[in-house]
């Protein structure tokens, strides 16, 4: 029977599923054990798997991520939580220089089956240093897989796939989606990395979105319908591997593409995808591809400012309509 659970519950469920299956899966991070995570994404795991497999750490992001890497080199499949994705910056050397490059540098001697989970994104008034959408940081580094689910079912399926994947995965959980509910079927759930989902089909324009921008794009698409515009919405789900097949097919079908990106403007994942479409489906395009992003600014804390900064359904609608004029 299908069950209705929240995105945050899905995180714990996915971890429990994988930790039950494979005793080499460990979870470490700040306040993940006794407190069940500061976002309450890991409650019950300590009780279920004990204090060795679910373990609180000091505030030492380099040690956390470094420990995950070293453990992955020596027989574990660790999942490390970095509380906010912004804090990836405090251990970026371990992530971008060590974890990402070690398989290549050792010519395949060292495999790093590990997952770094982290709370990403804005909408909760935490300001510039606790709200960033940093999927593009990870995407820009060769050797990292990058996952960012938009709903509870994807959280479980992609978390399971990430933990089972032999390569390092940066798994972005969106803070603004934690309370969202979604249906999940019974039984073990495992998905595939590298598969986008066409979550709404539409013949006029294509919206490419990720994580919290998916529901927002869907909302915009519904309203655009009232304006006579049928918008398809693609949930990218994974940035690496990237489902260029689906992206190119959808882009070619409508010839009018928009990215909806929470990240600041420059060098976002949208820029990459625009460039791919332009190089590979140029002659199918009927109009310039437009990126709908946060402007190139840090994020403000105050409600009206944060709302103004992020792409809204209204801004998506306006942008699409204006471009169709």
């Amino acid at each position: 029977m299908a069950e209705l659970i929240t995105y945050r519950e899905a995180v714990a469920k996915a971890l429990a599923q994988e930790m039950s299956r494979d005793e080499t899966v460990y979870l470490i991070g700040e306040d993940v054990a006794a407190a069940g995570g500061v976002f309450k994404t890991t409650p019950g795991l300590l009780e279920q798997f004990g204090p060795k497999r679910v373990r609180d750490t000091p505030i030492s992001e380099e040690a956390i991520v470094g420990a995950a890497m070293g453990a992955a080199m020596n027989g574990l499949r660790p999942v490390a939580e970095i509380m906010f994705s912004d804090f990836l910056a405090t251990c970026w050397d371990l992530v971008a220089n060590q974890i990402a490059k070690t398989r290549y540098m050792t010519d395949g001697q060292v495999a790093l089956p590990l997952v770094i989970r982290t709370a990403n994104g804005a909408g909760v008034r935490f300001g510039a240093q606790h709200s960033q959408s940093l999927e593009n940081w990870a995407m820009s580094v060769p050797g990292l897989k990058v996952v960012a689910p938009s709903n509870p079912r994807d959280v479980i399926e992609l978390m399971a796939a990430s933990i089972r994947d032999p390569d390092p995965v940066i798994f972005f959980e969106h803070k603004g989606l934690f309370a969202d509910r979604g249906e999940i079927p019974e039984g073990e759930l495992v998905g595939d990395l590298g598969k986008a989902a066409v979550v709404r089909s539409g013949t006029d324009v294509t919206l490419l979105a990720l994580a919290a921008m998916v529901p927002r794009s869907l909302e915009a698409a519904e309203k655009l319908s009232a304006h006579g515009v049928e918008a398809g919405v693609v949930d990218l789900r994974c940035l690496v591997p990237l489902d260029t097949q689906t992206i190119l097919a959808e882009a070619s079908a409508t010839g009018r593409v928009y990215t909806v990106e929470e990240n600041p403007r420059l060098c976002g994942w949208g820029a990459e995808i625009v460039s791919i479409i332009v190089e590979e489906a140029f002659y199918d395009l009927d109009a310039p591809i437009v990126r709908i992003t946060t402007e190139h600014i840090p994020l403000p804390s105050s409600d009206p400012l944060e709302d103004a900064a992020l792409p809204s359904a209204d801004r998506i609608i306006e942008t699409v309509l204006r471009s169709l004029d």
Binding site: E30, D31, D56, I59, A308
Partner: protein
């Protein structure tokens, strides 16, 4: 831990310190209420119970000394002299907030008062404070940088780098660890290799081992005077561990159920404010004087709350200002 009651603190200074602690407490209590009313958004981290640390240092600092603190920094920012109304307005995300609503509770800065920022990523402000002290040294400005942080912060790399560089360059800086026994929800003892997270590390930087009662404002004032003077006189950095306790949870979201009730109870008995009031009373401050201070604080914070509430939302256009020194956000020509 030194338990000695200072005899150095004069009675004028003492009343000032009492007033400061009250201000901080009242500010936090009101911030909490406003949060409950849904007016403070995002998150907020109260320093209720930790006022003695902030008051002791703020009372001892010179006006152009520089304070660096954390997201749990309302008290430090306020006591350096930041207008309470503008501070509260920032918590409410209003136009008149110290940062125009861009910063919020975790990111309070008021340069005119030497409040050089509350930093919300653990550890980052230690090297930054080191830099400010370095500039003070090079410019011969006579300023001292005082950098406050928690016990949990002693385990992050930036702590180590900052302490080492500050000592090697003999900078005018005081590092003050407010050891409130917990990082967010995890007891500091369970994730730290030594018992006293800061004091037991002092020797690793050639520094004196200083642990003090962070709930005793006289003790704090005294260690502030000593460490500030040392820094100002070219004696270099100090690392002070002030043991204290936060009365409430880590942040507004935290009911703090992980703490043993006896522990909480014991520390509530050591609430610095009633303790200090008793001490002042016993050493000759009249009830009238105390009440006067209390009323003044009460009404000044109330005025601040009103001022904050009356402040409008920031203009949406301000979302796109002050990325760059030209005031704007344009990244292209």
């Amino acid at each position: 831990m030194s338990e000695a009651v200072s005899t150095k603190t004069g009675s004028g200074a003492r009343l000032g310190i009492y007033r400061m602690m009250l201000e901080a407490r009242r500010f936090e209590d009101r911030a909490h209420q406003l949060f409950m009313e849904g007016l403070v958004r995002g998150t907020s981290h109260l320093a209720t119970g930790q006022e003695a640390v902030a008051a002791g240092y703020a009372a001892a600092m010179q006006p152009d000394d520089l304070t660096f603190c954390t997201y749990r920094g309302h008290h430090h920012t306020l006591l350096r002299g930041t207008p309470a109304g503008k501070l509260m307005a920032e918590l409410l995300g209003r136009a008149d907030g110290v940062c125009g609503g861009k910063g919020g509770s975790m990111h309070l800065t008021w340069v005119p008062a030497g409040a050089m920022g509350s930093y919300a990523i653990v550890g980052a402000h230690l090297p930054i404070a080191v830099g400010a002290a370095w500039a003070a040294q090079e410019r011969g400005s006579g300023q001292v940088a005082v950098c406050f942080f928690g016990d949990g912060t002693t385990n992050i790399g930036a702590f180590h780098e900052a302490l080492n560089l500050a000592v090697v360059w003999n900078l005018p800086i005081v590092f003050v660890c407010e050891n409130n026994l917990y990082m967010e929800y995890t007891p500091i003892g369970s994730v730290t290799a030594v018992e006293r997270p800061a004091a037991d590390r002092a020797a690793a930087y050639g520094l004196e081992d200083i642990q003090v009662d962070g709930n005793d404002p006289d003790v704090m004032y005294e260690v502030a005077l000593t460490t500030l003077a040392k820094a100002r006189d070219g004696g270099g950095p100090s690392l002070v561990e002030a043991v204290t306790y936060r009365h409430a949870g880590h942040s507004k979201a935290d009911p703090a159920t992980y703490r043993p009730p006896e522990e909480v109870e014991q520390w509530l008995k050591r609430d610095p404010i009633p303790m200090y009031r008793r001490r002042l009373s016993e050493s000759g401050t009249t009830e009238e004087e105390l009440l006067q201070v209390e009323q003044k604080v009460e009404s000044s914070i109330e005025a601040a709350v009103e001022e904050a509430k009356a402040s409008p939302d920031p203009s949406v256009a301000s979302t796109w200002t002050e990325v760059w020194a030209d005031g704007g956000f344009r990244w292209r020509n």
